[in-house]
Symmetry: D2
Subunit: 342 residues, 4 copies
């Protein structure tokens, strides 16, 4: 259920609505919009009726939310959510581009790539310090050392850092450095981790699991919002199908479906999605044409030597040629690719 109140409702009217909700053992969520203020309700709302609220002051309308996901649904919030990452917006007409290597491999490597990206006008750097890997014997990231290098890159080059959290133990450390905390596909239904990032005051990039339906993805986002963190960016990164030519099947259908059903922004990771570097460019273009709010792309200055995911990484040169095309494409779908030159 969703209580729609006038935007300039006085605080005591709002509090009355919220108290009524709390009395029934539920949790109120204040969701301000540009035209109305909505109060979302989560919890066992079965004893609440529409009539409980209609007579309260400043209440204009009471709406039942029909989806299993509540706070993330467009029924709850008509306007698209815009997320602010150190001044860079994700979710409005800006086309957000996050780029960088799969992993931090050394101080030199991450500075080299970050510098090249910065020169191209990119401010959002992706790079993993803690790497969840299918094999226990594969490179697991530089861990604390990797975070240190990222902190240094952040400070010296002014990049905003997007980096993955693997578990609740390392979340405090990562939160100190990250501007956006990434949850990987294999942790999309690690509910304890979702709840933990739900209590952190940082935007979260939530990747779709390999066998997750779009509804599953939205339910996982709901976990984060229900704990109080409304800054969630969804990410389509490919699902598992019978096709063997590509590493995964990038499911761009998710983009218009999410845009219709949720107010949260959705970006696309074509690097993992198709998994073959020379096909990343067309899939990145397709993602933007489908309406994605942004892209996250693996770029490595020596893909052939990368400690992970080299096969799907673009060289800076190829990435630059993609950027040039994106600048052309963005206006066709009413967006603008903002590049930041100091």
């Amino acid at each position: 259920m969703l209580i729609m109140m006038s935007l300039n409702s006085p605080r005591d009217h709002i509090d009355k609505v919220k108290n009524k909700i709390i009395e029934h053992g539920c949790t109120p969520h204040e969701i301000p919009g540009s035209e109305k203020l909505a109060i979302g309700i989560t919890g066992p709302s079965s004893t609440l009726t529409i009539e409980d609220f209609l007579t309260l002051d400043s209440v204009e309308e009471v709406v039942r939310v029909s989806k299993p996901y509540k706070l993330v649904s467009r029924e709850m919030k008509r306007e698209s959510t815009i997320i602010d990452v150190g001044g860079i917006k994700i979710g409005n007409t800006n086309l957000a581009v996050i780029a960088g290597p799969c992993s931090v491999e050394s101080r030199e490597q991450i500075f080299d790539i970050a510098s090249e990206l910065k020169e191209m006008g990119i401010k959002l750097l992706r790079a993993g310090a803690y790497k969840p890997r299918t094999s226990p014997y594969a490179f697991q990231g530089l861990k604390e050392k990797g975070l240190e290098y990222l902190a240094e890159v952040k400070e010296k080059l002014g990049m905003k850092i997007v980096t993955e959290v693997k578990d609740t133990e390392t979340l405090p450390l990562i939160s100190k450095v990250a501007d956006v905390i990434q949850i990987g596909a294999r942790n999309m239904q690690n509910f304890s981790l979702l709840e933990a990032v739900g209590k952190v005051d940082k935007p979260v990039l939530l990747k779709r699991g390999l066998a997750a339906t779009i509804e599953d993805l939205l339910m996982s986002a709901e976990y984060i919002l229900s704990k109080g963190n409304y800054n969630v960016i969804l990410c389509e990164r490919g699902i598992r199908t019978f096709e063997t030519y590509t590493r995964n099947t990038l499911d761009l259908n998710a983009v218009p479906v999410v845009k219709k059903n949720s107010h949260l922004p959705i970006i696309v990771d074509p690097s993992h999605g198709i998994g073959i570097w020379d096909k990343v460019k067309p899939m990145a273009m397709a993602a933007v044409a489908a309406g994605a709010d942004g892209l996250i792309i693996e770029v490595h200055n020596h893909p052939e030597k990368a400690l992970s995911d080299g096969y799907q990484s673009l060289t800076p040169k190829h990435f630059k040629s993609l950027l040039d095309k994106l600048v052309e494409l963005a206006p066709v779908v009413d967006r603008k690719l903002e590049l930041y030159y100091d």
Copy 2:
């Protein structure tokens, strides 16, 4: 194996190569290109060696084809195949748009839609007279009557007709009317039908099966080419996955993969691919951005009354708004959407 000869090889040099192939129980396929003439070999070529050909006149190079598909592979023919449908090109910089209803439902219905499309500059009309349906009790098309109406539309409005063939029995009848013969997803591995259209002198539109890998699709195209019909247009139309929100999972990854591995053109059917009308537009845009050579889109003047597939059909008005966007998008990917006004 592929024998590369100089473009102006004299006929007797060519015949010598072809005879050598025939002697070994194989079939030669002459594939002219703009720089070289290639002679493809199909059949049990195990007894042939590269040396058998290198000493023959006008032979410049002999190449092993590493893929299980031969005639459709880019190894066999470097240049993209351009298919001519009554003067309209598919496979070059032209962005081909095929539109129309799922089925011919009545003389009036097909004339109404075709006229509206013609006014928008569309010349390629899709509409089924014979409809393969999952249920024996569902509308199976107007059959001969439907073909008659299509023949009339073709004559009176000058449209080019794309229509589906269900079986070899009706192929002769359909071949008389169709400018492009469509093979549906469920018949993609109906090998007898593939062989039959391989002997017809009409372009074939081959749709990817619901569980077909990209390699399967190319192997099915190979069936058609191996019988002598080189005018095959591939079509991505969605595969089956665990996702339930969308009717199918339109797999745009197939576009760059096919473009790399085959010289045949590939178009995309976003209507079946995602299966929900209001998401057809973003997926159509995405398909073009991914590099598709064209689109095939379901348009119906009364989707709510359509006898089949109404839920995924665009109204002419929505289709027009898509066309306007495609005109803008095409140049970004080095194409042009040609509209034909009399």
Copy 3:
């Protein structure tokens, strides 16, 4: 809708019901059971009401069929259908075992294998004369020659022949030799072929397609029944999933689901299902334990030299050891594996 009449209804009562159905433009299907006579209705039954029938003589009950499939559903016919293949029953307590090579490869080969199987007590021989293959360059079967050998095996050894039909053209020829006509997975939705075998007076073995839901399989069977051939044996043979270790994913879940929703028998093909010979035995055992009415298993006397599917074929020796286990297993699930020694 289903009209339940008493078993000994006089002919004129039955005809009255059937005429009423025909008047409304529908088709009546007489389905005799051991307790009642059911009249199924297919076609556009929307104008028919339950009341139309309740007042007619001998009518005991009128039931709405809720499933999209009608004639194949258990709602239509409570009792399991038993199919008679030259005296061998499929669908009752008998556990039917069909065995043989993928293809007829030579007169000698098929006689050798058939003789070995006959000695083990097997009477149902599988072997393909016309082989649908993914590649146009793969062995396509011995065709007419293969059928001739099968006819000879049938006559000399008294085996019952299960062989595949690829297209309507060769159906008359195959019908002369086959005791059971097989429709392969890739033709499961070749609706013209389904209709054609629906008019033949031979049992049909219908294999599930690689991306076919169980409902799709039942709808395809419905095509055959709706044309008058009620002797359809369903066959689970593996679906396509993301798993790459096995050739397909044998979906034994289909067995109890089909048994609940349809009166038709269902057998299992573990050879194609898992696709690796040394895992055929456990999957065959599992199929029987899950309630399958029978098995179809590839057996080849020289798997390593087989022209198709050698990797998934059992040697006669391994097949014999499976048979011994099946004899033990059958009684646990209230069946009996009948072996036929002359």
Copy 4:
């Protein structure tokens, strides 16, 4: 690489081998068998050669392990691993049956079910105190309270407890009560949790993820073994496919594949696997026939009132009828279903 030594190798010979491994920066794993003692090596073994070991005392053979998983592979350990859960064996000829409700719902509920199961001779009780749920608003388990009840059941009824761990935070608490620690499908690639249970001295039940290949499952088990816990029981519980009739597609093919490639035991969860209570029995039978080492089955005394998974739970009466059949089936596959009556 795997160093095979004679069973009665003196300690100093063994230590010499282990030291050599440690010198190269790798980790030795002592894996005793009945005929030989194997020393497995994990870590960056690229600098080690077979010759490094062949000359050492008591070394009989050095084998390269070809699979990406090492410690879990049958190459590493020929004999099947037998896991002891309080005297009950899993992995030998015993057919292990774990049963119980999805969740602990109340003291009364868990005592009722546990008592009924105990009377039937079942000693392994499953029940979740911490429940990972797709929705943040669904019942999440009784948590600590639930564990307390389980501890009481364990003490008073002598049941062995199988219960799920959701995160590393609650692992110490759960380890105190659980006899087997379960990792759920959605946590199968929660690598930090895998490492944590790898350091606990309790058997682990590792469920296959919804999109996990069999190789992925083995790699996740490898994480646990590589940290020192060799007591891992694998569990097939259904994967995601396009089929919508069943909740998941129970993939019994995994059973023979795992048995061939790994020495670890594998059990099957038909309740989640097919997800419909009246089809659990045939799938349980099929699992055992396929060679599973055991079953884990949801049993609830009031399925219609269950707080989770009621639709797939058996009543005690139906479970009893399954048990009776399993007793008959077990000897056919050379097993015995041991029931424990005090």
